[in-house]
């Protein structure tokens, strides 16, 4: 699986941007995991969510990311994960 970590900020709850982004990921055949969410307490407060999104191919992930950027998602980290055990990173 290929994955990215994206961040959404703004009035993403009242604008329904968060559910739109999550629905969009599933519609595109991807998956997501919400890593962190901070919801604004006052009317003017903005909210923030960090979400790991994943897709079976890099191409699919790239397509997904392009679509999500249109709704304000910013990529914070890209990772490639495999199901096979990977050796521990040597300590320098």
């Amino acid at each position: 699986m290929f994955s990215e970590i994206i961040e959404l900020r703004g009035h993403i709850i009242d604008s329904l941007i968060l559910p739109k982004v999550l629905d969009g990921i599933l519609t595109e055949g991807g998956d997501f995991k919400i890593l962190d969410i901070k919801i604004g307490q006052q009317r003017a407060d903005q909210s923030q969510a960090r979400i790991e999104i994943s897709a079976p191919t890099k191409e699919k992930l790239d397509t997904m990311v392009v679509g999500l950027r249109e709704h304000g998602a910013e990529v914070t980290k890209r990772e490639e994960t495999t199901t096979a055990a990977s050796p521990s990173k040597p300590i320098a």
Partner: protein, 269 residues
Amino acid sequence: MRNLLLCPPDHFGIEYEINPWMSRERGADVELTKKQWRGLHEKLSGLDCHIDLVPPQPKLPDMVFTANAGLTVGKKFIPSNFHHAERKGESAHFARWMEEHGYEIIWLPETLDFEGEGDALFVGDSLICGYKFRSDINSHRAVGDVFNCRVISVELVDPRFYHLDTCFTPLPDGGAAWFPAAFDEYGQRAIRDLVPNLIDVEEAEAAHFSCNAVVLENDIVLPEGAPNLVKKLTARGYHCHPLPMSEFLKAGGACKCLTMFMPQRENIG
């Protein structure tokens, strides 16, 4: 009394094509354009508005659409960062005029497209902002930071209604007139959650830009061609003033596009 900014149509014309309404093969009639603009100016003046005029500039035909100059709250003005290269030259002229008239100018980062009051309209203390065709959703966050207000971002999906003010008209009673199909389903839900007493505008009347209306307490100045909307607004107690706007419709604009409120809101909260 409301203060409004207009720009005489001295240099207006269909000189490029940046929305589905524009066609260089279907130019605007110069004399009719001037007559229709004067009609709007006279109507608004007669409705107790104070109107300032920003000097029109050659080679900037769309400067006449002052709603896209920027967004004003109190004495703060955010100038637009236009999406299309054809309009980018307008920003400096509008910003200079506003600065000379005592407004604090707050620029957004150049990378963020934002087309001012065309895509940003208050409902109560919440600012509804349209995105996709002209404004970048990330600009909404920046605007919210400047004015410290809640911003509801709604996606526009019909290129004919490329700005929020072409398909959404907030009303003083807290409701709004709108053309729902101009928004994606999440935007429609967000608006329905926030705005009570919505008036749906039928497609044929929306296509006359009937939502592109200047709302002044009990008076609403809108393009002619929307008898059903006028009936509904009249039933709510508003006085409607339909005006001919055919020449500006050729550029994808009408009454509201030709008008910017100074300010749109005195304060928030």
